[in-house]
Amino acid sequence: MQAAADLINAVPFWLIVLVKSGIVLLVVITTFAYSMLFERKIMAWMQLRPGPNRVGPWGLMQPAADAVKMMFKEDLTPNTADPLIYKLAPFISLITAMGVFAVIPFAEPTGTGFFGAIGDVNAGILFVFALTSIGIYGISLAGWSSGSKFPLLGSVRATAQMISYELSMTLSVIGVLILAGTTSLMGIVHAQDRVWFVIPQILGFIIYVITAVAETNRAPFDLVEAETELVGGFHTEYSGLRFGLFFIAEYLNMITVSCLATLLFLGGWNALFGLTFIPGLIWFLAKAGAFLFFYIWLRTTLPRFRYDRLMDFGWKVLFPAATLNLVLTAVVVAFWPTNG
């Protein structure tokens, strides 16, 4: 046992990080591929269709087929596009979407920290917000540089929407931070040992769910790519792998937001009903998966918002509600300080 620990300690830090990154990257990309299939299947079932079922058993090879299709499609650049930024934008989107996974802890760290996060940054949640805020550039620059009107409209909508809703989202999360007393994601989960924050922060959780959907530009807030009015929104002109990168980024953001909801409100890898014999990683994945399911459920159920109502809702309902939640939490914590 001691020898094994020594062996592990002998491994250089950068190598551990590298291997962890590789594993997380692999897992995340696979999860992305199957979350796409997951979404298509669930949507189909909710719409009384069988969904993709031609490629492999139950359509399980569909992601591979899609990937191959993406790869072999022609990569077009419109004449009116700004070539430099047009090519840069998908990478900004993807890198920020992937970078977030560097700080998301998936389970209780063991002795070697192997199943924890790649890096437990102290300002973890802020790091996530910083990266997602850069992610906006991917979308808005893509829309601008396409040199075409629909993408521009889409990206302007995206920017306005994401700024508006990010504010409420951050405010709803700050309530959790006040309760946990730390900005480290690991610490926030530890603070939920006894009670999940979804109970004291139910208003914050509702606001978080709504803003999270808006942040990731998903139905019913998918004004950014509203097919009926904007063709494809900011990625209208993109094709082939570059479109694929946006696609990956969108789904990764979905997964990120689900993971964050799990970590911040649903107790992370903490077990429910004392069922501690199930590993924390399974708990975490189950919770994140349930959130993802809810996401898709939302998409099949609700029609798209109108743009002015979206803004109204964001600024006149969500923002005051988030502020109220924050103030209430702060007051409660200030007057009845607990050690939890």
Binding site: L48, P50, W297, T301
Partner: protein, 198 residues
Amino acid sequence: MRKNLFNVGALFHGFRTTFSYFFYKKPTIEYPSVKKQHAPRFHGLHELRRYGDGKERCIGCELCAIACPANAITVIGAENTPEDRHSPGERYAAKYEIDELRCIFCGLCEEACPTDAIVLTPRFEMADYRRGAFVYAKDRLLVAPDEGVGQAPDERPNGIPSDLGMVSEKKSTVDVATGYDATARGKYLKEHRRGLAG
């Protein structure tokens, strides 16, 4: 806005609806592997019938070609001779072609035919890679000589095959090779094809 915003009940009703649909049996028929039974008088691909002695019913009268609203049928008649007798009457169809791409499957040819020679079967799967393959000549329209029946065409030994699988199994008229030969263009395509429609 405000009224709609707080109508949470409707929201949950919607969620319940989609969630219950999630468990419904899906009505989709997975077509190529599962095929649906057609209506008995479905209008599909044509065929030319024979009598019990193997003679063609078609007498080359061209009434079907005249009745056809889409001008899809071309009939060129010829005289029967004692040595070369195709049909019971004086004339027979030396050439009988139906362009299935023009055909609207209305069944007027069937009604116009005085000898019940041309009928529409329930077969509908005639997809092909070349347009030329859709011009069906006599070689693909005529039923096999041993499938003819006596006076009435509906009294064939096996009845009118309306079951799709059985039809395509019994009379595999999907003979692409001859389909190409039906027209000069098809012939050319057949000679120059590259790995298609084998």
